[in-house]
Symmetry: C2
Subunit: 569 residues, 2 copies
C-alpha cells in the first residue's frame, strides 16, 4: 500500500491557500496510486496560529474550509488534515474550548477526528493556552492496515529515550496496546541546531522499542520567528530510516507499506541528503526563515545597513540567497569615525554578492544633532548619548528608505550582542526581522568560513580577520567592552541554554568577575530585547517567544538600571 507525506509550507491564517496546497498534493499523490496522504499538524491554518484561535469566526471558517476540502478531494485517497475541533463539553465540565486535532477525510466527508494528547507548554509553545488534551489515542484502518494517529508532542515522552517522563500519558503505548500496524505522527516541529539528530534518534528508538513502523510528517517553512525544517521521514520496525523528505523545502514523499512483511519498505532514492554540517544546516535555516518572512509579509525587496563587519555581511549573503541579489539593497553610512576598510570591505562584499548599494554619509546629521543639543549637552563629555545617536541616525535613514521604497528593513545584530545589550535600541536594532539574532558571534564566524569554503568566497577575507568594531568613536573595538567572543559565548550558553547559576559557570572554569559582569549585562538588557524585532530561532533557546523574563527584576541584582545602560551606543 502506498502512503505519501505532504511536507507543506502553509501560511498562518491562509485557510483557502493552505487547503489548496493540500488538495494539490492529494491530486498528485492520487495520480501515483497513493491510498493515504499525511499532512502536518494544523496544516489547514499553519502552525502556530496563536491567538487567532480565540476568534470564533476563525474556528468556524476552519470547519467550513475542512468540509469543502473533504468534498474536493479525489475519491480514491484518504487524507489526514490538521485542524482544530471545538470541545463541546468545555462549558459543562470545564476545560479549554478547542482540541488540536487531525481529521481523516475520506469519501467526501470527515470520517474521524484524533485529538492531540500531550500539549507542549514550554519554550515557544503555548498549547495549554488554547487546547484541551485528548483523553484517548485512536486508530483507523485502510486496506486492513490499522494505523495509530499521534500529533507531534504525543511521541516526545519516551522515558527510556529521555531519561525522564514529561507527561503522565503515553499515546504510543496506548496505540501499541491496540495492536496497530503503523503509527503516524503529524508534526509542526520547529528547527533548532541539532534537533534533527535528536528527532531521528528518538523515532529510531521508538520504532525498535515498540516494534512498530513510524511515519513522521513535519511542516516546513518559516512563520515569524519559527523555522520548520521538514525532514519528514519513515522508520521501519527495526528502526531503520526508509525515506526522508528534503530539509528546508516542501516535498512529497512516497512510502510503501508491505502487508506481507508488515513493515515499511526501504526506498534509498527517497532519502534526501542532509546538510553537510551544522553551519550548512543553520545557513539553510536562515535562508528559509528570511525568504518566508519576506514573502508571507508580502514584501519582495529588503534593505540593510552594510558596515563592512561580519554580521551585516552574513545577513546580506543570506538575503541574496533567499530572495535574489536584485532584491537586496545595501546602504553604507560612514561617519567621521568610520575606518577606510568599513567602506572598502562593504563595497567588496556587495560586489561579491552582486547587490546594489547606496552611500549616505552621516557627518552632516551628526553635526545637526550636536547643534540641536549643544545648549543642553554643554559641559558634558562625549559618551553613550553621542555614540547612540550615530546608530540611531543610521536607523532613521534605513527606515526612511524602507518607508519610501517599500523594502523590508533587516536588522543584523547577532545573539551575543542581543544577550549583553551591545546594540542600540532604535538604532542598529531597527528592522522588521532580526535575521541572525539567535546566532552567537562565534557561530557567525564559522558560518561565514563554511560559506567561503563552499566555492565562491562571498565574504571578503578581511571581514573575517579584522577585529570586530562598532566604530562609534576613534579606535573602538568590541573587545574594549566585552570579553573575547569564545569566552563570552560559552558563558552565555551556560546561562541562557543551561539555566546555570553564576557560581556553576565559574566552577566550569571562567573568571568570576567576568561571569558576574556578563550576567548583569544580560539582565540589564532585557528592556532592549523586549522591543527587538522577531528573530529567527535557530538554537534551543532563543530570545523572543521562548524567553519570558521580567524587566523590573532584582534577581541576581544588576547594579545599574535598564534604560540607562547601553554599552554600545
Amino acid at each position: 500500500m502506498k502512503i505519501a507525506i505532504a511536507q507543506l509550507n502553509p501560511t498562518i491564517g491562509d485557510l483557502s491557500g493552505n487547503a489548496r496546497q493540500i488538495l494539490e498534493a492529494a491530486q498528485q499523490a492520487a495520480s501515483q496510486g497513493v491510498s493515504l496522504l499525511l499532512t502536518p499538524e494544523l496544516s489547514l491554518c499553519g502552525y502556530p496560529p496563536r491567538d487567532l484561535l480565540l476568534q470564533p469566526a476563525f474556528v468556524r471558517s476552519m470547519a467550513d474550509t475542512l468540509n469543502q476540502l473533504a468534498k474536493d478531494l479525489p475519491p480514491q485517497i484518504a487524507v489526514l488534515v490538521g485542524t482544530v475541533v471545538p470541545n463541546d463539553r468545555a462549558v459543562q465540565t470545564g476545560g479549554k474550548p478547542l482540541f488540536n486535532s487531525i481529521a481523516l477525510l475520506q469519501d467526501g466527508d470527515v470520517q474521524q477526528y484524533f485529538h492531540k494528547r500531550l500539549l507542549p507548554t514550554y519554550d515557544v509553545f503555548d498549547e495549554d493556552r488554547y487546547f484541551e488534551p485528548g483523553q484517548a489515542s485512536m486508530a483507523f484502518a485502510i486496506d486492513s492496515l490499522k494505523i495509530g494517529v499521534t500529533i507531534c508532542e504525543d511521541l516526545w515522552n519516551d522515558e527510556e529515550f529521555w531519561g525522564k517522563r514529561s507527561y503522565e500519558a503515553s499515546p504510543i503505548e496506548d496505540l501499541v496496546a491496540q495492536q496497530v500496524n503503523l503509527i503516524v505522527n503529524l508534526s509542526a516541529s520547529p528547527f533548532h541546531m541539532g534537533k534533527q539528530r535528536i528527532r531521528q534518534a528518538m523515532l529510531h528508538h521508538a520504532a525498535i522499542r515498540y516494534q512498530t513502523p513510524i511515519i513522521y510528517a513535519n511542516q516546513v517553512g518559516g512563520n515569524d520567528d519559527l523555522i520548520f525544517d521538514g525532514n519528514s521521514s519513515g522508520f521501519d520496525r527495526r528502526g531503520e530510516m526508509t525515506c526522508r523528505a528534503n530539509a528546508f523545502e516542501p516535498d512529497l514523499v512516497l512510502v510503501e507499506y508491505d502487508h506481507t512483511q508488515q513493515d515499511l519498505c526501504l526506498n534509498p532514492n527517497q532519502i534526501a541528503p542532509q546538510p553537510e554540517n551544522d553551519d550548512a544546516e543553520m545557513w539553510s535555516a536562515l535562508v528559509l526563515g528570511l525568504r518566508d518572512y519576506v514573502r508571507k509579509c508580502g514584501f519582495s525587496k529588503v534593505v540593510l545597513g552594510l558596515s563592512g563587519g561580519i554580521d551585516s555581511s552574513l545577513v546580506a549573503a543570506v538575503a541574496m540567497m533567499a530572495i535574489g541579489a536584485e532584491n537586496v539593497l545595501g546602504v553604507l553610512m560612514p561617519s567621521p569615525y568610520s575606518s577606510k576598510h568599513s567602506i572598502t570591505d562593504a563595497v567588496q562584499l556587495a560586489q561579491n554578492l552582486a547587490i546594489k548599494t547606496e552611500i549616505l554619509p552621516i557627518g552632516d546629521l551628526m553635526q545637526s544633532y550636536d547643534r540641536t543639543l549643544a545648549e543642553l549637552f554643554a559641559d558634558t563629555e562625549f559618551g553613550l548619548a553621542e555614540e547612540n545617536l550615530q546608530s540611531r541616525i543610521r536607523g532613521n535613514l534605513l527606515m526612511a528608505l524602507s518607508n519610501k521604497f517599500g523594502h523590508l528593513l533587516l536588522s543584523t545584530g547577532n545573539k551575543s550582542e542581543m544577550a549583553v545589550g551591545y546594540c542600540t535600541l532604535y538604532g542598529d536594532m531597527n528592522g522588521g526581522l532580526a535575521v541572525i539574532a539567535d546566532v552567537p558571534k562565534t557561530k557567525v564566524y564559522s558560518i561565514c568560513q563554511w560559506l567561503n569554503s563552499t566555492g565562491q568566497k562571498l565574504i571578503p577575507a578581511h571581514v573575517i580577520v579584522k577585529p570586530p568594531s562598532a566604530e562609534l568613536k576613534p579606535g573602538q573595538v568590541d573587545q574594549d567592552s566585552l570579553p573575547p567572543y569564545d569566552i563570552l559565548d560559552d558563558i552565555l550558553h551556560q546561562f541562557i541554554h543551561d539555566n546555570r547559576s553564576p557560581d556553576e559557570i565559574v566552577a566550569s572554569g571562567h573568571d568570576a568577575a567576568t561571569v558576574e559582569r556578563v550576567i548583569k549585562l544580560v539582565i540589564r538588557a532585557e528592556f532592549k530585547r523586549k522591543q527587538a524585532p522577531p528573530g529567527l530561532k535557530v538554537t534551543d533557546r532563543a530570545f523572543g517567544t521562548g524567553w519570558r523574563m521580567p524587566i523590573a527584576n532584582r534577581w541576581l541584582p544588576a547594579a545599574a538600571h535598564p534604560a540607562t545602560i547601553t554599552i554600545k551606543p
Copy 2:
C-alpha cells in the same frame, strides 16, 4: 481570633527584600495580637516571576529564604507565605517541575504546603508553563479554627456565578466538604477596569453559596505591564463585606473571627473607600503602574515629549502625580508644521504641573535629513517617509536626553493609536514604558475631564477641545486618516475584547467599509506592536503579553503589507 492581611508590594526576584516586607508585617501584626497573617500569592518572589522559575538556583534560593524567614518570625504568629515547591515526582510520573504553593510558617519552621490547583493559562497568564496543578485542597487549624487554603484562580471557577465552568476541579467545594470554618484566598490578581466589581460580586456569591466566610489577600503594586490593585477584603457567611484594604496601596488589615458566631466580624472602620468612578480608578492604576516601574527599574526621573496634545498631557500629569513634578522633564520639539498652540498648550500644561521643560526645535535636523536623502528621494513626493522622519528625529532627541541624563523615557501613545498603527515605530513609540498604551482615546478624554473636575484644572481646556493632530504636515488632523474616535473605539473594543468578526461588528450598526478598514489596520500594525515598550494593562485585553498574534498572517487578509504601512508617519 485576630487575623491580618498583609497587602504587600513585592519586587520580582528581590527575595531578601520581599522576605523583609513579610517579616515587618508579621512583627507589626504580632504586636497587635494577631494569630495568623496572610500574604499574597508568591509573596516571596513577587508575581509573576516568569522564566526566573526555570533557573534552579532561583528556586533553591527561594527555599533558603523561606526557611530563614520561618526562623526569623515572631513565635506567636503563624504566617501564610507564597512560594514555589519542587514537584519531586515530576521525573518519574511526568508533569511540571514546580508547584505554585502557600507555605504555613509557624514555630520556626514550614509546617505545611498548599498547592494551587487551578492554573490560569490565558490572557497574560502562563502558569501551565511552570506549574503542576495540586491534586487536593487542604486545610489547617489554628485555635480550633479550621481554615481552608486556596490560591487565586482556585476560587475563579464558580459555574453558578460565571454561567460556565473553566476547570473540572472545584477547590472550594472540596474544602466545604471538609467542613472548614473559613476559606482564605491568597492572590496576585491584576487590575483591569471593572475587575474589582466582578471580584467583589464573586466573593460575595461564594460566601453565601457555601455559607462560609472568605478572606481574600491580594498583591498590590506594578510589575512591568501588570498593575495589582490590592483591594484585599473579608466577606462573612452572609456575603457581607467586613473589611477592605486600600486600593492601589500597601496595607495591613485586621480581621476578627468570632468563634461563637463562627463568622467574621464587621469592621466598618476597616473598609477603605473605593475610587469615585472608573476614571478615578484608572488614574490611580496608571499612577501606581508608572511609579513602580520607574522605582523598580532603579530610575528616579523621567523625560517625555510634550506635543500640546491630550495624550502627552495626561502622561505628564500621571508622571507628576507618581514621582513628583521635580522629577519630570517635558521636551517641546516644534517643527515648521507645528501650530502655535502646540507650544502654548504644552507650556501651559507644564506650568499647571510645575514640571521643567526644554525646547528643541527640529527644523535644522529635518533639513539635514532632506539634504542627506536628497539624491535618493529626488522625484518622489513628500509622504510617509518624510512624516515618519519628524517623529523619529523627536524620538532620537528624547533618547539622547535619556542616555545623557539617565531619565527613563515615557512614550505617550494611546490604545486606539496602537491598535490601528497610528504611531511611528522608532519615533513616538520610543520609551521604556508606554504609560497609556492600554487606554483608548475616548477614555483619555474622560480621564482628563474627570481630573480637571477634581480641583485644579491641570489639563489646559484648549488641549481637551482642539481636534487631535499629529502635525506632521500642514493642516493635518487625526480624523483625516481615522474614523471619529467614538466609532473607532467601539469597533476596536468589539474586535479586540469581544473577539467579534467583522460581520458581527457591522451587524451591531457600524458601516461595513469602516469596519473592514479598521480591522485591516489592526492586523497590519502587528509588527509595530511587537516592538512596542511594555504598556500598563488597564483593560481586560491589552496588547502585550495577553495578545499573541502572528505577524505574517493572512487571516482577514490585510491587502497591503506590514512594514510598508505607517498611516501616521
